[in-house]
Symmetry: C3
């Protein structure tokens, strides 16, 4: 499995692992167990004891360590065997397991699959808006039987919203919509404007008057390896941005295996922060739009593609694919650069000023 | 997957596809979607958009075309992309999908996997008796986890009826039964006579006096690729054929994949046309005899054979196999002839006079 | 699949096959059907008719023979075709199926996969204690998605009891426990002593006073290919063995395929023979301790190991592995000896004197 190594990937939402919980998950083709040390710091180690290959997630946390449920060997969060409860307690040399550098930041548990000494948390792109005051974020996740780049493709080509999500995101301004693709050194933007549009069904509940006409724009920003921010704004005609709605979707993909992925998504808003009904409506969108509409479509595409990669199937490309194609090319170049020169810097850092 | 190409295969019963319905099915190892144009004519196209490989059966019919549910591209029944709803609507050259010539005839939707210019509906064997006045046909279908030739084998060697269907078709004349195999240029017949037999259980309900003694005959006719007609007659001793029962079973097999098949079956009668109870009894036979008795046995045979073909396993052959062996040889010869000379005529046409 | 051939394996508990029953099971990678002749003697033949490869377990017993359910051919318990019900009844030469020598002894149906002429029932190790008067045995079985040697490993390294079964078998004398491994020509013993121990939870119900302190010992004896006897004794401090509890577990493993096994287990006691509540408690242990605790752990280990064999994964070995390692080496040597000299004697016979 080929993937960018010296970059941060999402292992889990921070809230997925708490207390004494052991979370078993396959990330980048490695079965791992995720847990927290007594100080709360995250640890991500291989889910296989080097003695008899029992999965460690069948064990338990003892202090800062994870104890194997089969024979009681204990390992610290860096993967070193630190306790043998049998006989004289001898620990053979080299008794250890793989471990990923792991960091919690902005509500996310991140792991670094590359050179450990280069695992700098400063290289994690700025997603502080997920947890900063004055905003509210609703989190979700879906397991996907699809290569993670197919999910990125789906996001960067938002023209699909007019078909896959026609009932929820369809706009009568679709035929007049404009699409702009901007490529930066480390990012690709795919921006859509639907001028003088009806309010799409999924957003009507956020307006007192759902019959208003709005300028509707939908912007996507991709950062490596598969971190996509989606900013949606709906501004009533003749009004200022402050009088409209801004909702930011965040879509973070991590390969599970060659053909399966973890799809982490969440939606952040700057309005009605304490309104449970809005939370509920966002969860409904995550379930309906992402899990039930995008999910099956992307998985069906993967099933049709079998184990082939996209290029080898010679897809007929259209203008709508321009952003997704640029992302694939930039991502492939980053991987190639890294293979040529392992110190190549491939981590795009989103400047704070770039906040939605 | 090796199969006869220049011949008609069954894609579906005609009644399986109606109105706006999109039927997804794999035929001859190709995932297709079957639909009807606005004039009702059938279309069978690959179930995969050439843009992003979304299955077209997740889309919808728009006029005579099928619209992809992912990005809205439209294809006609011949597989050509005819509409791009995005931007300037440009359709790239070569934007098309595979399509099979398809025809509805005698209640069956037929497809032709070979040279398109040779797809002559006149070459479809005459199954008009399925839908002609004065007869009533009850239709059924079973998916089979077995190579389609194992189903043909099962039909052509009716000696299995005395074991697999002993409770329903067992005859006390079994030991006196005679078997005749007739090979024609394009057909194989396997004919059984059980003289002076009890009425087998499955047929008792059709007689006022179920204790009658009958001459019981069961004839099978195979046509390529796997079209089997089965004529059963039960004539009370000393009576004329007109005083007996004639029931015709039709068994049409189409490969789904190398080791799975579509088994289309139906039963046609010339008596009690409007009697729902007889319909029900035939459905019960299709469920019990075909789906629950033949089906599991044939699938168990396939499971035991694994992925090997029959010859490679050196089966011990008996006299009862003579018809099935002839079918396999004739079928193999037709495929070999076609490979040598693609214009070889391999389509047997059943003459009208041959009607049951 | 590499395994010891000239030895007896367990095909089934004797009570699993009775009357007209046909038991289909895969043993040593061969799908077989197990049945009894009219005199009750067991027969184990390949579950595949040589005519059309129908599974014989879909047929029925006729006298001493098994009749194929597809076309009625009959085979005796040695695998010879003895009846063809069709036409002149000719049976082609070589019409036969594989058969294993099979014997019922001590409540067990044994099969011999090696040279038939060497299949001497005297070579079956003495398990007469399973069925002798003055004892009561409760039988069980679990299918395991694991190589059979992983089950042997689990038994021979009883240190796992203090973790996998901590709630049921945990002893406060664990840290003081002693482990002795004894290797004989044909057997390996793994013996544990927990001096001055609490009564482990699983055994408390057998004592009037569950707070007694006991000398707790747990002994395992392995015989090829995977026949393990486990003797547990709990003797109140200062009392004689006769005043304590002796319970004998018997664990017999037979490969189903390379990575799956049949795990036959039973527990024999010499006390409260007619007490249904004790039977029930033993069944509860078999369900909880073996099926729900050992079972998932061993299967999880196999899953983590994938299709690799243990050595190729370079496990970090500890002192607790000494018995299991000796068993693996002795077993491997027996297989190697047999490959060099097919007459090598590899069958360990447990002397009657060795009875628990």
């Amino acid at each position: 499995m080929k993937y960018l190594k010296n970059t941060w990937y999402v292992a889990a939402w921070a809230h997925e692992v708490s207390g004494d919980q052991l979370l078993s998950r396959t990330l980048l083709n490695v079965a791992v167990v995720i847990f927290r040390r007594s100080d709360g710091s995250p640890a991500v180690v291989a889910d296989s004891c080097p003695h008899r290959f029992a999965p460690l997630h069948l064990g338990r946390i003892v202090g800062d360590n994870i104890e194997c449920g089969y024979h009681g060997l204990q390992f610290d969060g860096d993967g070193n065997c630190v306790h043998n409860p049998h006989g004289a307690g001898v620990i053979p040399k080299g008794c250890s397991i793989a471990a990923f550098p792991a960091v919690e930041k902005h509500g996310v548990l991140w792991i670094w699959p590359g050179d450990k000494e280069r695992a700098d948390p400063q290289l994690i792109p700025d997603f502080s808006y997920l947890v900063e005051p004055g905003r509210k974020t609703v989190f979700g996740k879906r397991h996907m039987k699809a290569h993670f780049e197919l999910i990125t493709d789906n996001l960067m080509d938002a023209s699909h919203t007019q078909f896959v999500h026609k009932d929820l995101l369809g706009s009568d301004a679709f035929a007049r919509s404009r699409h702009e693709v901007i490529q930066e050194a480390e990012a690709v933007h795919s921006n859509y404007v639907f001028p003088d549009s009806e309010i799409p069904e999924a957003y009507k509940a956020y307006f007192d008057d759902p019959t208003l006409r709005v300028d509707y724009s939908v912007n996507f920003r991709w950062l490596a390896p598969a971190l996509v921010r989606n900013s949606v704004s709906l501004i009533p005609l003749g009004k200022t941005a402050a009088e409209g709605i801004l909702r930011t979707g965040t879509h973070l993909m991590t390969p599970e295996t060659e053909l399966t992925s973890h799809y982490f998504f969440c939606h952040t808003r700057n309005f009605k922060l304490d309104d449970e009904a809005v939370d509920e409506r966002i969860r409904w969108w995550q379930k309906t739009g992402l899990a039930e509409q995008d999910g099956p479509m992307i998985e069906a595409v993967q099933k049709n593609m079998g184990i082939a990669d996209l290029d080898s199937l010679n897809p007929v490309l259209f203008s709508i694919d321009s952003a997704a194609v640029r992302v694939r090319r930039l991502h492939a170049k980053m991987i190639a650069d890294e293979e040529k020169d392992s110190t190549a810097r491939v981590i795009p850092i989103a400047a704070k000023a770039d906040h939605p």
